[in-house]
Each structure stands twice: as C-alpha cells, then as structure tokens.
Symmetry: C2
Subunit: 274 residues, 2 copies
C-alpha cells in the first residue's frame, strides 16, 4: 500500500478524498492551484508539488478533480504531464465535464501511451468523508481494474462500470445532476405553493419522502427546502456547480439535437438565483 | 364487519378498492355512471344502486372516487344524497380535486349535519390490489377515526393525518403528482439524450435508481421510459390524469400568486403528448 499516487485538485471533494487515500496508506504527491489548500495533507505526510507534472510517477496513477473542462485540459496539456505519465500510466479524471472533452482527452493521452479513465463523483463532501460516494467509470478494462481499489480507498461505496469507451460515465453524471436539479427546483416550486396555501411544507415533504419519494436526495434536499421556504428564503443551491452542470447537460444534448425543455428552464431558474 | 358502506366510482382505482372492502367483510351499496362496471362486485354480493343517494345509509359512511371536481360536485348535489347521509354521516372523498373544492364541499356537507373527510389516493391500480396505497387524509378528528379502518380495508399501507381542516390532504396529493410528473418528464428528457449519444438508457437509469434516486417511482417509471426511449417511443403517460392534475396544481398555486414555471412547462409537454 506504499504506492505513490498523484492527486490534483484539493477542493471541497478533492480534499476529503485525498485524505482518505492517505489514511488508507498511500503516499501522495499533491497539487492545487492555491497551494495552501494542501496544508492539512502535507501535515499528514503528503508531498506538495509546484506543478501538475511533479505529482506524476512514470507508469503510475494520477487522479484529478478540478472545476471544469478548461481546468482539466490545462492540467493535461501542462508541461511534462503526459510525457512523464507515459506508457502504462493512468490518469483518473474525476471532474464533471462534457463527454466530448473526455473523448478528446482520452485520444490525447493515447498518443503518449498512457490511459485516461473517467470516474466522475456523485456525492457531497460529507459523503466523501463517510465513504459514501457513488462512482460511475469508463475506460480500458485493465486500467479500470487497477483503478478500482483506489476509488474504493477514496471513499466509494459503489462503483459502476460503463464500459471501455469514455464519455458514458461522464454522461451518467450529467444525467444524475440534471435529475437532482429538476427534483430540487420542483420541490421548491411545490413547497412554496404549499406554504402560501397555509399548509406546512415540512408535513408535505415528510409524507412524500416516507412514501413515493423515499430517496436520500428528496429527503435531504426536501428538508432543507421546507426550512428555507418556511423562513421566506428562495435560493436552493448555494453552489454554482448545478448551473455549470446544467449547461454541460444542455450542450451534450444539443450536440445530438435532443430537446432540453426542462434543462433550459432549470438553467434560467438557476441563473435567476445566482 | 357487516356494516354497509356506500361506494361511488368504480374506475381503475375504485373497483379494486371496493373489491378489497367486500373481501374484508363489509356490505356494499355501489353506484357507477356506467352501471356495468359494477358487475364483478354485484357477483360478489354488492348491491347496485341506480343513483348516488341510494348508496347512502343515514348516519353511515359513503366513499367516492370519481374523475374530477365537476363529477364530485354533481354527486354531492344529486337529489337526496346529503339529506339521506344526514347527521353523523360521513362522506370520504377520495378523488383528486382542488383544495378549494374540498373546502367548499365540506361547508355544504356541514349544512346537513354530515361530515366531509378528504382522503385522496396515491397508488396505481396494482397497488390497490396489493394493499400498497398511501393515503393522506384531513377532516374532523372523530370522523377520521371512524374512517381509518375503512381506508385500511380498501388497501392503505400507510395513512397520513393532515389535520382537521380539509384542503391540506388534497394539496399534498397535487404536490405528489406534480413531483412525479416532473421526475418522469425529466427522465424522458435525460434518457432520450443518453440514447442519442449512444449510451444505453437502461444502464444509465439502473445506476441512478440503485443509488441517489432509489425510490420506487424512479425505478418503475425509469425502467418503462428507458424501454420506450430505446424503442423510439416518446409518450410517457398513457393516462390523461397527469394532465388534469397538473392543471389543478397550477390553479391552486395561481390562486395564491405562487409561480409555477415547472408545472406550466410540464402542462405544455403533457399537452403535446396528448
């Protein structure tokens, strides 16, 4: 378990996932644009790199989880990154990006003899800490087998294989985030309506999330939305991630002429909130 | 258990619910606009009435489950119905209607000394057969206590008390149907997009309904939608009920100036399908 792993991106999800790797006994070389975010990891023995390529071991594994397509591309194209990773090396890309970006980057990795595995993450930071992440992944079979124990160590409670071609796991992630966004905005619309009609939003969502909608997403967001609506607040997402990801969903659909009436409306609602 | 109950409305849900009552040992006087739908119940010993009032026992209990507000009002206002129900009588109204209609009808019942309890039904016909209905109810406490064992006999697996004022249980039903409609149309939009991107809709929904969206609604509709999308079909609801109920949701929201961007879009999408 003393294998050295590169880890790039120490945001709200990346930090607890990297911490889990350290706790599981892996050695880490970490990089983050704002270096100070690595402090807690360095205190636990991780080595801080000053550029992405310096996290990479030849033929080894490097994981990245960054804000968007552009940030991911800039890492892949940064000086020395792919050359160093080289033949046998694997990049686990865990950011939420366009399937098209995944396919493009996989081809670029192949030129240097290394492998791109996409493994976007479902779960909030608390879920990473509690080892309750859900992870769809796609890429060449052998690489996935090598990657699986690492994803488990990072905090996966379940890993779902979407085949050898990258793009599919990223698409599942966009679909999941879209369905969550739709559920959350629908709950806000419905519970606001209940409250204005003099019916307690908490009683409404309590019944529904014990019965037909007894999924964790409805239970956790429903409770927060009922409280927000009762308090007269209207913003449901604090983060800008849903807005970004809805845009990715729309773009992915538009590329194949698939209509997005609901995603487009959600995009507008999220923009009004932002 | 030889109490005689009136039962009005033998549609897709009413028929199995009335059958459950017979099986539980109740005597039934039944009425349906199209009388022949009562045949299977009559064969099991139910008595067929030629008008709503003839199902009613003075001071007894009559249950109704009909298509819409207008059908419900026409029963309540039909000759002899309320007079016969009279003091101590209870009408269990199980149709999905406007909260406003519930409140209006409760006041009309009170004039004849009888009680209106609203108890709209969550569940498909199969769920009625399997005793897996979820029922929110509202109305005067004593009447609800008298009604509860009947709802259990009709097929409730869970009953949720929304207080003494009618309108709240009906509102919960509208909210639940709206959230289902939103989930279903969002799944269609997302799985169509997956399919056009060359990703198997079944694999996508399988993962999501095993993880973040592990509620029966997503599982049962998701499976059907994935199959429909793969087969090139686009219509998701065979029934006109979702269209009607979305209209009721919008009207209930508009009466209190609560915005309905998602419900209005769903209404349009359902209309395009109809």
């Amino acid at each position: 378990m003393s294998e050295t792993i590169g880890f790039i991106g120490l945001g709200l999800l990346g930090l607890p996932m990297a911490t889990n790797l350290l706790n599981a006994g892996y050695s880490l070389h970490v990089y983050n644009r704002t270096a100070s975010k690595a402090d807690p990891l360095v205190a636990q023995g991780a080595q801080l790199a000053s550029r992405p390529a310096d996290t990479v071991t030849s033929g080894g594994i490097v994981a990245s989880i960054v804000w968007d397509d552009a940030a991911l591309e800039s890492i892949v194209m940064s000086e020395g990154f792919l050359e160093r990773l080289g033949p046998g090396g694997i990049h686990i890309a865990m950011s939420t990006v366009l399937p098209e970006t995944s396919r493009k980057l996989a081809a670029i990795h192949a030129k240097d003899g290394c492998v791109y595995v996409e493994a976007p993450i479902f779960g909030r930071p608390e879920a990473a800490v509690a080892h309750q992440l859900w992870i769809p992944f796609a890429g060449p079979q052998q690489a996935k087998e090598r990657v699986r124990p690492l994803l488990e160590a990072m905090g996966a409670q379940g890993i779902f294989d979407f085949g050898p071609e990258v793009g599919a796991a990223t698409l599942v992630k966009l679909v999941g985030n879209f369905l969550i966004g739709s559920a959350v905005y629908s709950m806000r619309e419905a519970l606001s309506m209940a409250e204005k009609n003099g019916v307690d939003p908490k009683a409404v969502i309590d019944m529904l999330t014990q019965t037909l909608l007894n999924a964790p997403i409805y239970q956790s967001y429903g409770k927060r939305i009922a409280e927000a609506v009762t308090a007269g607040q209207t913003t449901v997402f604090q983060s800008k991630i849903p807005l970004k990801d809805t845009g990715l969903f729309e773009k992915t659909a538009q590329q194949v002429d698939s209509p997005t009436p609901i995603a487009s409306l959600l995009h507008n609602l999220m923009n009004s909130d932002a």
